[in-house]
Structure formats: structure tokens, C-alpha cells
Symmetry: C2
Subunit: 365 residues, 2 copies
Amino acid sequence: LRVALDAMGGDRAPKEIVKGAIEAVREGICEVVLVGRRAEIEPLLKDAPKGVAVQDAPDVIGMEESPLRALKSKPASSIAEAVRLVRDGKAEAVISAGNTGAFVGASIFLLRLLPGVKRPGVAVPFPSDNKAGICIVVDAGTNLACKPVHLLQYGLMGALYYQAAFGVQKPRVGLLNIGAESTKGTEVLRIAYSMLREAKQVNFVGNVEGHDLFRGTCEVAVCDGLVGNAILKVAEGMGEGMLRWLNRALERYLKNGGDEKVKQFVFEELNRLGNYASYGGAPLLGVGGVVVICHGRSGADAIKNACLVAKRLHEGGVNHRIIDGLAKMGFGWWRPSRWMEFFWRGREDERTQKGEDSGDRRLRS
Amino acid sequence: LRVALDAMGGDRAPKEIVKGAIEAVREGICEVVLVGRRAEIEPLLKDAPKGVAVQDAPDVIGMEESPLRALKSKPASSIAEAVRLVRDGKAEAVISAGNTGAFVGASIFLLRLLPGVKRPGVAVPFPSDNKAGICIVVDAGTNLACKPVHLLQYGLMGALYYQAAFGVQKPRVGLLNIGAESTKGTEVLRIAYSMLREAKQVNFVGNVEGHDLFRGTCEVAVCDGLVGNAILKVAEGMGEGMLRWLNRALERYLKNGGDEKVKQFVFEELNRLGNYASYGGAPLLGVGGVVVICHGRSGADAIKNACLVAKRLHEGGVNHRIIDGLAKMGFGWWRPSRWMEFFWRGREDERTQKGEDSGDRRLRS
């Protein structure tokens, strides 16, 4: 697996990004192509192992720039160049902690959507008390005006990703709503509810509410990008807040002659569960390549773990599965009728396994 | 102040509700009329102080019932009877921890909206690092399809509530969005942004994101009910999750010969900040009376604190201020043109202070 990594993206670029890349290569997760200003990257590569390459990209898109304008005015930005490596088959996955809008835009424009996909969706991990310890929420900010069919597709794509990445056979999919009953919510949510209920490919458990994410009621929660983005940042803010208040409490405890050792126990556990870095990154599901979005504040650890996410996506063949699953639902230009499916299923699987082009020119993972 | 309290609402009714009522009366916060099945309430009132009365209501609406159907089929439910006490002037405020939909419905049908209000909104408190330690979010679940003008009104109503309840002169109002720039979000959010920016009555600080609620960037955050409900429950779930993980960590620490005393320090601080009971309840802003919604799991403490919230709303004259503020913005059937306002302002204020009917038959607080 070769990963194209935007070395200039994020608040702590390029130092932490390069450090994370070197760690990922050392641990044998993948090879990395660092994309960005060669002059800034190479000094950081003194003791780099084999498997770390550099691809020059003169432009850098800032975190606050307007995505579309930046992509147009800076055609050779590190983000666009990194995505281009995947388009041209020189890398299998792309990771960036930079301007999320620009990264999503470049991915959609250059890699296109998988056949059958109506809208791509970002799948962000939340800490949860289910088996794998993770609940993913799709979408977290790319699709603000969701139609019911988008939510249906997010349910399928999220479940296929979860299956491949965390080895759970039938991930439970919930629709994030304001209450458990099927009549709750807006019209879009009610229609999405009935579509998800009818979909045989999705193990739908009905409406879920915000607290269910953490309680392990489901493995995948589906919502529109506005809600997903809001809850992502609220969970982050609440987690930070709790840690701040906990720190305050522990300081008072220590002042009153407390035992220093407690800190180590407490923060070890909470950091593992509440820290985004341990999850690495959020895949953009539905585009024709493996795309992993990192948090703007990502350090070396987060980057390394994002490489792990990319590896899981690649080796799990998530994009193949998405095309297949959507086709079975009747999406995409390749729509098998029942008997067609019956006759062709065997051959199609054979060809896919041999690594041949299964009739889809846009698939690159 | 006399409060009508739905004694049958919530998971821990009627015992905890009655206990909370007795505490509130003992502490001199208010008088309470307990509404519900007399036979179940009176045995709990053995050592009740003066100021606790009982009003019989034979029906009870369950937490899971469909709100509108329940209100129709059970006209004499404890929720409806409690709201009726306010409509008929026998109480100044109403509190319930029962079926939220039914409570909101009964409040709107029986108390009507304040003149000028397009949609009522629930204002829920979040823990925050600003001066008062609280950031309120409007709306948290009554209005799922917000128009820009609703968000504008929520901004004003939220600010007036905050001002009266927490004594902050110019509460900062933010629009909850997916990013800070004015061009972010859906069309509704972009229009709401420009409306809020133009409104002189609102101290608008622009778009805010989820984590800003906890960092103290604003005192009031405005969003539609779908987003508000989701973030409320996610914050709750994240808080619960963090406490669970913290408990786990502390147990491991104690097993390794730790110091028992730390628990007391830690949970004291976190409970004060992260526990909904300490905030009491969420007012329903925009209806013609003081209405406070409690969490379904409310215990005695939460109920007592909800009485405090009702007291603040009543004594702060929040509903008067809302009518006034909206009228200045040009909402409501009472729309003073500039010169009308100039001539009539004095007289209007005089009459209101004397407690006379200021031309508004629907105002009851």
C-alpha cells in the first residue's frame, strides 16, 4: 500500500505530519509519498527509512481559504497533487489534515464518485461501549441538505466500511433522530426510516438518539451533514470540557495532600477513549479511491493511525463492496435484474478477485 | 409565585416530584400546586409545609404516547390540567418532567404564543466556561424545520431570557453552524446570519461551532430543533460516557492501592458542571406563560431547580420583554411606527408597571 500524504495540511504541518509518516513506514503499515514543498520537507527526513518519498507541490491551501476558489487559483497545491497521485495510480490512498472543504472537493473532482453513489459522506468515529469500542457517524459535514436516498446510501456505505474495518459481521445501523418512534422527525427522516427498513442489505435497528452513540446501541449512525458536524464538534467540546473540569478537580485534590499517581491512571483511560488521535481519521466514503480526512490539529500519532484507517479501507476492499452493495439495491449504471444477477454473480466475483477491471473505470481501490 | 407542577410526569414520578416540590416550598422559592392523582399524591404529603396544594387530575399521559393523540383522548391529564391552571390565572408558571411533546402541545394550545412570536423554542443550558457558567441553546427540539426568521427570533428570545435569568447585560448570541465564515452552511443559515447581523436588539457574534458552547465564546447559541436536540443528547451521552470511563479508571487505580478520597473531589466538580439536575429545566420561550420543561429522569433536586428557573423567568419579566423586543423588531400585531413609539412608550410602561392589562390578553407572566 502506498499512501499519498499531504505534508503541508493541518496546524502542525509539516513537522508532525512527516514524523507520523516516518512512524507509519517504520511500523510497516504502508509506504508514504509526502506531497508538499520539497525544501520544507527534506530537512525533516534525515533519518527516514526506505519507503518515504517526496513529491514536490509548490502551493499550499490555508485552513481558512474558500475551498473552491483555492482549488481553482492553486492548481498545484499539495492537496490537489496528493489526490492526483491516486487518480494516476501512483498511490492507493490519500490522507490530508488540511482544509477539509478543499480536500473533499479535490477528491470528488479528481476521483469522481463510485458508480451508484449519489453523494459522498464522511464517516467519523465516536467512542462507544459496543464491541469494537467505536460508533461511526455518516455524514459529518459534506452534505448539508440530505435527501432520504442519501441517508439510505450512507447506511449501506457506513455498514460496509464498519464490516471491513472492524470485523463486525452485521453492523447495526441507526437513523439519528429526535426520538425512537418511526413517526418522529422531519419528512426526510421519516422517508429515510422506511427506506432503510426495507433495505435488505442494511441491518437497520430504527431511530437512535444522541446518547445511543456512546452506549453501544448501534455501530453506524446516519444523519445529515449539518447534524453530524454539530454533534462531532459538541462531543469534542464536551470531552475537552470534562477533561478541563477533571483537571481542575484533581488539582484541588492534589493541593489537599492527594496522591499524585491517580493522574496517570485517569488520563491514560480517558485519552484512549476520548482522544481523536487514537482514531486517526475519517474516511470519505463514496469517492473512487481511498480518502482519509484528518483533524486539523493532528499530530504524528493521528497521522500514523490515519494510515492504519487507509490500510483497513484498502485491504477490506470497501469501495468494491460499496459498488456491489449499491448495485444490489438498484443504484448505478450497472443494474442487474434478478435473473441477470443470478447468472452473472459468479463470473463477476471471479473477475473482481483476479483483480481485473470489473467494468468500472472509475474504481481505484 | 405559584407554580403548577405536574406530579405524574417523568420516570421518577410522583415520589421525587413531590419531594422536589416540598423542598422548593421549604426554601421559600415558590408555592406549588401539585397536579395529578390525589390518591397517589396525598400519602406523600405527610410532613408537607404550608404552600403545597393538590389539584386532582385523573388521567396521566405516558412518556411514550403520541402527544397529540394523548392530549385529545385524555383531556383531563395532569399535564393539561397543570397548564390550564396558568391559563386560568390560578398559577403563574407550570413545570412538567412528563411527555415533552404533550407538554409543549398543551402549552401552545392553551396559553397561545406571545404576540409576534412565530414559533416557540426550548432553551436548554449547556455547561460553559463563560461568566455565568452556562450557554443556552435555542431551539432544542420543538421546531424541526426552522426558517431564518425563527432563528432570528430565537436569538432575541434567548438573549432576553439570559439577561433576565443570569444578569448578563449584553449576552453574546451565536449561530450554530459548520464553520465560522458567513458563507458557511445551508441557505437558511446564511439568511439567518444576515438577519441576525442586522438586528440591533441582538448582540450577534457570528457563526459558532459545537466546541464554542463549552469554551464560553457565546452565551446564547441558535439552531434548528433537529440540530439542537441532537447536540443536547450527544453532550449528555458524552458526559455520561466520560463519567463511566472515569469510574473505570478510578476503580483500577483503587485496586492498585489508590487513595479513596479522590473520588469525592472528582465527582463533586463534575456533577456540578456536567449534571443536568443542577440546571433544573429548560424554559419554553415564546408562549403566553412561564413554562419550564424538565428532563424525564428528573429527581427532587432537578425539580427544585426548575422552580428556581421559573422564578427567574417570572421575576425577570421575560415574556414582557420578549413582546417588547419583538415589537421593536417589527413583529406582532402591535407594530409601532417610529413616531407612535415615541409618543406611546411612556404610557405603555406606566400601565405595565401598574399591572394593568397592557392591551395584550394573551400575556400571563
